[in-house]
């Protein structure tokens, strides 16, 4: 084992897609770290690049530039063969349990597939492990020879989780693992993921658009907007003291199922700007209630304002340097 500070260290990661209209900046200069045994929640609206970030880290999308270090080891540029070995340690759970399972394979075949591919286990070992995994994720043994279409969404997602756990990974990208599920089932899956983390020391990158879920589940939260990281902080800090105007608006938009605690909504005007050939301005500027001239001139850097709390906003950084500025104070001013 090498020396490393963080289990995962992503720096200046970029992923551009060439489309007819130009270059689509899906992930644009994103840097963050995740420590062992922790969960980083990544939130943002659809199209903000959160899934692409997750996939670029696993090199399911080849990053355009930047570096991803796993256990201190650079993985961008590794050969296919080396990458394949590493994949055992880095897994992904997909969003749609209806589309991510091969309909022609039985449950046991689906869960066994990663072990077969790794080529390190004997047939009876695999069988035993499939049995164990099904127990771990709470699938009854009678489902061993059923096909995915016979099962409901919650059970299918459990299969996806069992498959991701098959090779004893250290790090799992959970790409909206509960979005397609009913709330009662969603809670079952979230609790399962939590228990697995406690028992196996797993590290998660938890991608979701549901802020209530991420607040419940993550240690740190990163907010993405149009391919960029705009704020990152410990969950509690982010919810109590959001600094970026976008984060604040996003938090205020969550419908709260509690009659006594309704939040005051801060509207975001207009639609998202195009990520194709974006100008070098703050990308939130057009929708931002606090936009000033400086915001249209350059893109703000992500800076650490208090320990663990990173923000990319000209206004916040400037006011922070001068003293006490906060988003909500500005809103009332």
């Amino acid at each position: 084992m090498g020396d490393y500070e963080h289990l995962l260290e992503v720096s200046h990661l970029k992923k551009y897609f060439n489309v007819r209209a130009g270059s689509l900046h899906a992930v644009d200069d994103v840097s963050f770290t995740i420590d062992k045994g922790k969960t980083l929640g990544v939130v943002g609206e659809s199209g903000c690049g959160k899934s692409t970030t997750g996939r670029a880290i696993l090199r399911l999308h080849e990053p355009t530039s930047g570096s991803v270090k796993f256990e201190g080891r650079e993985i961008v540029g590794l050969s296919k063969r080396e990458m394949r070995k590493l994949r055992a340690e880095m897994q992904i759970i997909f969003q749609d349990p209806y589309a991510s399972l091969d309909p022609r394979n039985t449950i046991s075949q689906i869960i066994a597939e990663p072990m077969k591919l790794s080529g390190t286990m004997k047939k009876d070992e695999i069988e035993q492990k499939v049995h164990d995994l099904m127990e771990t994720v709470g699938l009854a043994e009678r489902f061993v020879n059923t096909y995915p279409h016979e099962l409901d969404g919650g059970r299918r997602q459990r299969i996806g989780i069992a498959r991701a756990l098959a090779l004893n990974p250290k790090f799992i990208v959970c790409d909206e693992p509960v979005s397609a599920l009913d709330v009662s089932i969603q809670a079952q899956i979230l609790n399962l993921l939590g228990e697995l983390q406690d028992n196996m020391g797993l590290t998660y990158m938890f991608i979701t658009h549901d802020l209530a879920v991420v607040n419940h589940f993550a240690d740190d939260i990163a907010v993405m907007y149009l391919g960029q990281l705009v704020e990152k902080a410990p969950s509690e800090e982010l919810f109590d003291n959001p600094l970026h105007p976008y984060t604040e608006a996003l938090l205020s938009a969550i419908p709260v199922p509690d009659l006594d605690n309704q939040t005051k909504r801060i509207p975001i005007k207009g639609e998202i700007t195009s990520p194709i050939n974006p100008p070098d301005t703050c990308r939130f500027a057009k929708r931002c209630p606090y936009c000033s001239g400086q915001c249209m001139e350059s893109s703000p850097e992500l800076v650490e304002l208090s320990p663990g709390h990173f923000v990319a906003c000209h206004k916040v950084a400037e006011e922070h340097a001068g003293g006490t500025w906060k988003v909500d104070e500005a809103a009332t001013a």
Binding site: V183, A187, A212, F239, L250, V256, P257
Partner: protein, 391 residues
């Protein structure tokens, strides 16, 4: 004797103020003398009709009355009982949230109101659905076509598939207007432009096709179509499920504004109790095709009665208390093709007793506005954990 009995029955079915119930019951009682075999509910309906005719505004008390609705899907494999004895009433300008899991019968109920249940395999077995006092089950297809999109409009869940890709959005809005009103093409186009502005889309974009719009904007177009003829009843089937939170907030604001502006009644089908808290006046919790708890927002959120409702609340991550552990409802929803004799929730319920598995619980009113279907309340001291906490 007989009059008293009918009075009692009327009290049971009418979720209304004491005075209105009394009036209705008196009317009903008067008619009972002539037609003793009629049920109290039918009498109440007939008692209502003359009142509305005199009014001139043609405004029965309820914009929608669903009574004992049963809908089945007769598939090759099994007989799926989607809706099993559902009752729901909706006043003018009221928004009711219909909350439940996938497969609980929410969408089937909505489709039944418009008589759009795919047939075959869907069959509306029994029950009545009255829109503005008119039983839609008895209408001809032509008359039904008049109601759809005009008196009753629906916003479908998925804006990506609800629009026709080969017509501009302006044409699609104008189509509804021309179908239901006597106006020229130009007038309809003009009105379509107005509707786009109502939902916050520049008029000029009416010439664009659906694929040129983002998800949030498509959903706003769908809302514009639904509202084009000022419907009396708007059925919104998970209108924001496919949208991001910030766009969801915008769409909900628009819908709320329209409700205030046009006094439209709304059925908000959703599984998100947060949306219910923000937009609805009353809440119906639906499980296995029946409403298991019904009441005002405060009734259901603060004085929760049904164990299933409690389970839904416990399953939600609470953004104000992030360390609280989620308490999911155990197990899965029962198979609608194989419903148990007793309470369909019994297998998942934390408070289950033997009595629950013997008979289907009946509606039990705890106040004029709030009822629950749960056998556990046979014990007068029974209370949910959640209610104990709420004091």
């Amino acid at each position: 004797m007989e009059e008293n009995k009918v009075l009692d029955e009327v009290k049971e079915v009418a979720e209304d103020t004491a005075k209105e119930v009394k009036d209705a019951a008196e009317n009903a009682a008067a008619e009972v003398a002539e037609a003793a075999e009629k049920t109290a509910e039918e009498i109440k309906d007939t008692a209502d009709v003359p009142a509305s005719e005199q009014d001139g505004k043609a405004a029965p008390e309820y914009v929608l009355e669903i009574d004992d609705l049963y809908v089945e899907y007769d598939t090759e494999d099994a007989l799926v009982k989607a809706v099993n004895g559902l009752n729901l009433k909706l006043r003018h300008g009221e928004t009711v949230g219909l909350v439940g899991e996938t497969g609980a019968g929410k969408t089937t109920t909505a489709l039944s109101i418009l008589r759009l249940v795919p047939d075959p395999p869907g069959v509306i077995k029994s029950g009545s659905i009255k829109v503005e006092g008119q039983n839609v089950m008895e209408l001809s297809e032509a008359a039904m076509q008049e109601i759809r999109g005009n008196d009753v409009a629906m916003i479908f869940q998925d804006p990506m598939t609800a629009l026709n890709p080969v017509f501009t959005v302006g044409e699609q809005i104008a189509e509804t207007i021309r179908l239901h009103t006597d106006c020229t093409k130009d007038e309809a186009d003009e009105k379509a432009g107005d509707m786009l502005e109502v939902v916050g889309i520049p008029r000029a974009r009416g010439n664009e096709f659906p694929h040129q719009f983002s998800g949030g904007m498509k959903q706003r177009v769908v809302i514009a179509i639904a509202l084009a003829c000022n419907p009396k009843l708007l059925i919104a089937d998970e209108p924001t499920t496919a949208l991001d939170v910030t766009i969801q907030a915008q769409v909900l604001d628009i819908m709320r504004g329209l409700k205030d502006q046009f006094n439209t009644s709304m059925i908000m089908i959703t599984h998100d109790l947060g949306i219910v808290a923000e937009t609805c006046d009353s809440v119906a919790i639906i499980y296995a095709g029946r409403i298991v708890e019904y009441g005002t927002l405060v009734d259901v959120f603060k004085h929760t009665l049904h164990p299933y409702t409690e389970g839904l609340f416990n399953s939600l991550p609470n953004i104000h208390n992030r360390t609280a552990k989620l308490k999911p409802i155990k197990g899965l929803m029962c198979d609608p093709s194989n419903l148990p004799v007793g309470c369909p929730f019994a297998d998942r319920c934390n408070y289950v007793t033997d009595a629950c598995k013997e008979k289907l619980p009946e509606q039990r009113y705890v106040s004029d506005t709030h009822y629950v279907c749960c056998t556990a309340y046979d014990d007068p001291n029974f209370r949910l954990e959640r209610s104990k906490e709420n004091g």
